[in-house]
Symmetry: C2
Subunit: 281 residues, 2 copies
């Protein structure tokens, strides 16, 4: 690993971060609301802190963009109705769209399937100065593929190492990687899906396939556990976000992004000597 | 032209729209503040209307995304310091980033130059449901290229027709194209550039090349006039925005986007029969 990777791995805050060898997803309470200090947060305080986080992130993003030295990759994974769209809207929405790109990875196309599984991912990784968000990602290739046996075990098992190598490449070239797994309970998923079915304007978000996926809820928890154990590494850790409460979820993601970028501390490029003496004719 | 193009060309509002055969850029006042009804707008009223436009655009964007039938391409052209970044921040910034992509076209790379001039453009045109903004665009190939003679006249002259054909292809497949040329006066550009030089945090936006470009201010006005005459067509018209006043510029762009999308009138997909009777287990 390069010095750059070493420096980047010191950026990631500890709160909600997964240590690969001692994390049990099954023991997580999706309705958890304890903050970084271990005390229960109340909603109003969290919403106030969330707004402060966003204001900070807006300033940090401007400096990140101006400095043009690091990229930030935000990976979002969750079950259907888990809150991925909500995080994009509430946490990334207030940022300057010139510096943010969101890519949603759906079922691969025939052309994508004709390449290695990281091909369609690599082309959208962030350039310097940019924040890129993946709504689903290369991790689907060890999640849905594993749960539904879309590839032989020998194939998806090899992918954990491929992913780790690939993410190391990104970090070595200055990319900060923040991976968020949003966890909701089975009951909360049921409520949200039912609401989508009943509200005419939420209807379009529903697909019958979601019900099939829901039947595999427990299999997904197992696939998540394996993914966390194998791919939550110091240079690109996973954060598991209890997401039954949307206000807590938004607060937590914004907090972790803010702290990481504060430690990255992007700076405006140093003024060029004498620039202030130029007179525009 | 297909029926789709016919339908799309009826969407574009008239205010500030360029009729190719009777528009004289030299007669435009960049400090103009008259609204759609011909009366002078005051700043406060325009700012209130701007906020309403944004609220409408947010709702329209959601429906555009849900319907997934049309794409919207917003093209921004202007001199340096003309306000392109400002429009992106203020008008596109409040939209949901999941449905917006911004691409900034800079000096072409060797790889890009090894293709036709529309190659790097085509790959980023909006898919259904998306709003894509080009910060500079294929029009640079008839602007900077013309002004600095980066290609023989025979080459750039042929490009107007290529552009028109290309944009017709996009519109025929359901893309709405809104092209904005932001016009500032030479004095206003001077003020803004000087400010960039003097403010440490604006400094990084300045490049010595900008001063070279400024020397060609008048040549650019000529190139703009030719561009407007040749490429402001009913299916993909140009809007020329007087942009000395940022509040007027933001109001005007938001107003034109809002009216166009209101006429497009995207709808939520019709609820699937019986969906509301499904019970999530």
């Amino acid at each position: 690993m390069s010095k750059k990777s070493d420096a980047i791995q010191d950026l990631y805050p500890k709160w909600l971060r997964v240590k690969a060898d001692r994390f049990q997803l099954s023991r997580l309470d999706p309705a958890e609301t304890r903050g970084p200090d271990g005390r229960r947060l109340d909603r109003q305080a969290a919403e106030t802190a969330f707004r402060e986080n966003i204001a900070c992130l807006q300033k940090l993003q401007y400096r990140l963009y101006a400095e043009c030295k690091h990229g930030v990759l935000v990976v979002l994974q969750a079950m259907d109705a888990g809150g991925k769209d909500g995080v994009i809207r509430h946490v990334l929405g207030p940022l300057n769209p010139q510096g943010v790109l969101v890519f949603s990875y759906k079922k691969p196309t025939p052309r994508e399937l004709a390449h290695d599984f990281l091909w369609r991912i690599h082309m959208h990784t962030p350039g310097h100065g940019m924040i890129v968000c993946f709504n689903r990602s290369h991790y689907e290739d060890v999640l849905v593929v594993r749960v539904h046996e879309l590839a032989p075990k020998s194939v998806w098992k090899a992918r954990y190492a491929h992913i780790n190598n690939f993410e190391r490449l990104l970090v070595d070239s200055g990319t900060v990687i923040l991976k968020f797994l949003l966890i909701i309970s089975k009951d909360e998923q049921k409520r949200r899906m039912q609401a989508r079915l009943e509200r005419p304007h939420k209807n379009w978000k529903f697909s019958e396939a979601d019900l099939v996926e829901r039947k595999c809820f427990d299999a997904y928890q197992e696939a998540y556990q394996a993914m966390l154990e194998k791919t939550s590494l110091p240079h690109a850790p996973w954060y598991v976000i209890p997401a039954d409460n949307k206000w807590f979820r938004n607060y937590a993601v914004s907090m972790i992004m803010r702290e990481t970028l504060e430690r990255l501390d992007p700076r405006f490029p140093a003024p060029v000597e004498g620039l202030e003496r130029i007179v525009v004719e």
